[in-house]
Amino acid sequence: MSIMRTRSINACTITIAAIAAMLMVYRWVDSQLGRTDYYTGFVLLASSIGLMTLSLRKKLIVLPLGAVVIWQQIHQYLGLFAVVTFAMHAGFPVHGILETALAVVFVLISLSGIVGWYINKTTPKKMLTAGNPVLREDIAIVRRSIAQQAYHIALSAAGKNESATLADHYTKYLSEFFSRRRSIAYCIVPTGKSRRKLLHGLEKISRYLGPDGKSSKQSLSELVIAKDDLDFQWAMQIRLRSWVVFHVSLVWSFFILVAYHIYLVYRFQGG
């Protein structure tokens, strides 16, 4: 059994044990007629602070506090624990505007956490299908280089009668594709629709081209694939970064609401 698998099993076991322990204490507090909402509330607060320590650990990289991967794993399982605690604390349905807002933000954080876990697992493999990795800051340079190559192919085709069709086709359909970035929609759900459409378009004009034109068309097709692969890598990297920003922004909103929630609880608590 691999180390990673063993670690996951251990982490799962610990999480289940922690949840069970938390439930047992909850029952005990309840049986003693104690304030279970205070109990779950403070457990939730502690879990949330624990979840925040991941980003702190990343900043304090010089300290001997263990590898970030361990903290990442703790973050994931602590997140699961926090979801259970939250369910016990908030109950259903949730009443009040502030409490509803808090619940919505918490659910969004949890969902974005699950989505983040999924895209962090799957994105690297997807990116590998689109050629060798390109650094994000190099993408613009590579994109420009591809666009220039395509332009030169089209320009040289324009000078020859048998290939002029290709130059026209470039102006009409390809020029924009090579020069522009992809849309936000593409970043969210990148598809190969444009790529297929453009390649099919190039294939359709093949019958009007001479031998030189066909060779140029082949080069253009390869550039369409290269640009689409690059766009895909860009979209994937943007998506991952946007997710981090979204997740972190929600966390800060959550803590502001939590602070206000705690203030109100103590302000209006009964004797």
């Binding site: 990289i61 690297p124 060798n132 990297q237």
Partner: protein, 602 residues
């Protein structure tokens, strides 16, 4: 956030606005001993071996007197002081001026010669530095005292100060010297030159036997002194003689040989060098060639099918074991220091070679990768003096299906599979050899199937290193595995060749190669020598963020930077510990099974 080092291509005009002019650093700005007296120099130049040297052999820019003045120093040692420690990467050669030293071949007790430790900054300082916001990267303290030797750790334990210089000493030197096999070296004798020239770890420990005065010549100076033909000849002679005996003694295969037989082997062994000592200068151009053409550029040490005349023992460098397959060559393994070639055939012929038809020639070829020193031990000497003493358990497995017999190649069915168990995928092995990654002891391996390109590794590196990461997340790729452009702390660190100030050095204890910013003059020699483009020249700034420029030319002052494996952190490389996906590891590329294990696990 894809961080790129602060390359020269930064906006020049903007940076020039607040530039500070300083003297451009020069070679010998930092002599080994700035306090060397003229009368000592005069005396040295009239003493041997310098008196016999031909002054005409040295260029006007580096005359003999200047070499001695800048690259040498006279040092005093007390009884028991350790001059060279076994395993230490050589940086200097020594000549005994007065007194006596002893060389110990047997390993010293580590508690006696306590390993030196690098001075580490406090946690608080590390933390403050890592959290500090830096408006500009690569800030240097130009007023800092510049030390004379780079990459050297400060001494901390079992240390005493002699002439304001730290000396590691043995507390019970007399007992150790009496209880160990040692050889005395007297006045006029040279030592340590082998390790200094070959950039290899020293095979012996040298201890001062009573008060001693030594002349230390750092390897940059030694390289210049080799321009004198007589001195060069003397070094070559010593290099062959001393290396041979030590290497044979260290070879596992010969460890049960009686001394007289080992002596016989030493007498008959020849030392042959293949390839170019400065292989890295050609490597970048040959890398552009087709894989098979690249292989053909590698000098042949042994050609498959040729008669087995010698056992080949690798002394230093790397060699490729391959056999012809179709129109090309198939790499089976690469051999490093201490490994042998041709033993299977020798043993086979020893056991079964009664008739000409049963004698086997070499079954594989051996080629030099870069520069290789090999020892060739004649077959007859092996048969008489070595094979009878080799333990059965250490003998190689019999050759299952020979490719060649004495009459020529054996024609077989389409594929000729190697029946041995492959440790790694042969294609991966060929990739490692072709890219010369086998040289790496701390390669940065990234599994791009797990790497989300979050750049946490890059950010962590920047936090530890003046706000500028010491690597780029690009590099040769085998399947999903990328070997990023980060210093690999090579077994053969060619970057250390040619540094005029010795600013780039190897830590004797950890093997980490680092650059001393206090002595780096920004000449780019190391950066250009690195075959893997892992050393980057950067512009530097003062504490106020102003760019430092040359007083005379107003051009930016550059310094070399590279990964130092975060040696200031006891937690190890920050890049590895910062990766949240376990996609990055620093690993020894020569340890194939470990490498494969990590790749399989991923």
């Amino acid at each position: 956030m894809g961080l790129k080092p602060n390359l020269v291509s930064c906006d020049y005009q903007t940076h020039m606005k607040n530039a500070v002019a300083i003297e451009r650093p020069k070679r010998w700005d930092h002599p080994l001993d700035p306090t060397m007296l003229l009368r000592d120099l005069d005396w040295l130049i009239e003493s041997e071996p310098f008196a016999s040297m031909d002054a005409a052999c040295f260029p006007n820019t580096a005359p003999l007197i200047d070499i001695l003045k800048n690259d040498a120093r006279i040092s005093r040692y007390e009884h028991g002081d350790v001059v060279i420690r076994e395993g230490e990467y050589g940086g200097s050669a020594f000549i005994v001026i007065r007194g006596k030293v002893r060389t110990l071949v047997s390993r010293l007790d580590t508690t006696a010669s306590q390993s030196t430790q690098r001075d580490r900054p406090s946690w608080l300082k590390l933390l403050a530095d890592s959290l500090k916001r830096r408006p500009v990267p690569e800030v240097r303290n130009v007023a800092a005292t510049r030390s004379s030797r780079g990459g050297e750790p400060a001494l901390s334990t079992n240390v005493r100060s002699i002439d304001d210089k730290p000396r590691v000493f043995l507390q019970d030197a007399s007992a150790i010297l009496n209880g160990s096999t040692s050889e005395p070296l007297g006045e006029g004798e040279l030592f340590g030159e082998m390790a200094a020239i070959t950039r290899s770890p020293s095979h012996y420990t040298v201890i001062a036997d009573g008060p001693v005065v030594l002349l230390e010549i750092r390897w940059q100076g030694l390289r210049l002194l080799r321009r004198d033909p007589l001195f060069q000849k003397q070094l070559d002679h010593r290099y062959r003689a001393a290396s041979l005996k030590t290497h044979l003694r260290e070879t596992l295969l010969f460890r049960f040989l009686p001394p007289e037989h080992l002596e016989k082997i030493a007498e008959a062994t020849s030392l042959v060098s293949y390839g170019d000592r400065e292989w890295f200068s050609e490597y970048k151009s040959t890398r552009q060639l087709d894989v098979q053409d690249q292989l053909l550029q590698e000098p042949i040490i042994i050609d498959e099918g040729s008669p087995v005349n010698d056992l080949v023992l690798i002394r230093s460098g790397f060699a490729r074991r391959s056999y012809k397959l179709g129109a090309g060559h198939h790499t089976i393994a690469y051999l490093g220091r201490g490994e042998t070639f041709g033993l299977s055939e020798l043993i086979h012929n020893f056991r079964h070679g009664n008739t000409e038809s049963t004698i086997l020639p070499y079954q594989e070829s051996l080629r030099a990768i870069g520069f290789v020193d090999v020892l060739k031990i004649p077959r007859q000497v092996m048969v008489e003096h070595a094979i009878p003493f080799i333990r059965g358990s250490e003998l190689p497995v019999p050759i299952p299906s020979p490719r060649y017999e004495s009459l020529g190649p054996i024609v077989r069915s389409a594929s000729h599979a190697d029946l041995r168990q492959e440790v790694v995928d042969p294609a991966f092995l060929e990739f490692l050899v072709d890219e010369r990654l086998i040289n790496g002891r701390e390669v940065m391996l990234i599994n791009t199937e797990r790497c989300t390109r979050c750049d946490d590794c890059v950010r962590a590196c920047a936090r530890v290193h003046e706000g500028n990461p010491r690597f780029t997340r690009t590099g040769p790729q085998f399947g999903p595995f990328q070997f990023a452009h980060a210093c690999m702390h090579c077994a053969d660190p060619v970057c250390m060749i040619g540094c005029p100030t010795g600013a780039i050095g190897r830590d004797a204890d950890t093997g980490i190669i680092s650059i001393n910013p206090q002595t780096c003059i920004g000449c780019s020699v190391c950066s250009e020598s690195c075959p893997y483009d892992n050393i980057v020249m950067v512009q530097i700034h003062d504490a106020r963020g102003r760019q430092l420029v040359d007083k005379q030319t107003q051009l930016p002052i550059l310094q070399a930077t590279k990964c130092d494996l975060c040696h200031s952190l006891p937690t190890g490389p920050a890049c590895q510990s910062a990766c949240p996906h376990e996609a990055l590891v620093r690993i020894d590329a020569s340890n194939l099974s470990k490498l494969q294990q990590w790749m399989d696990r991923s």
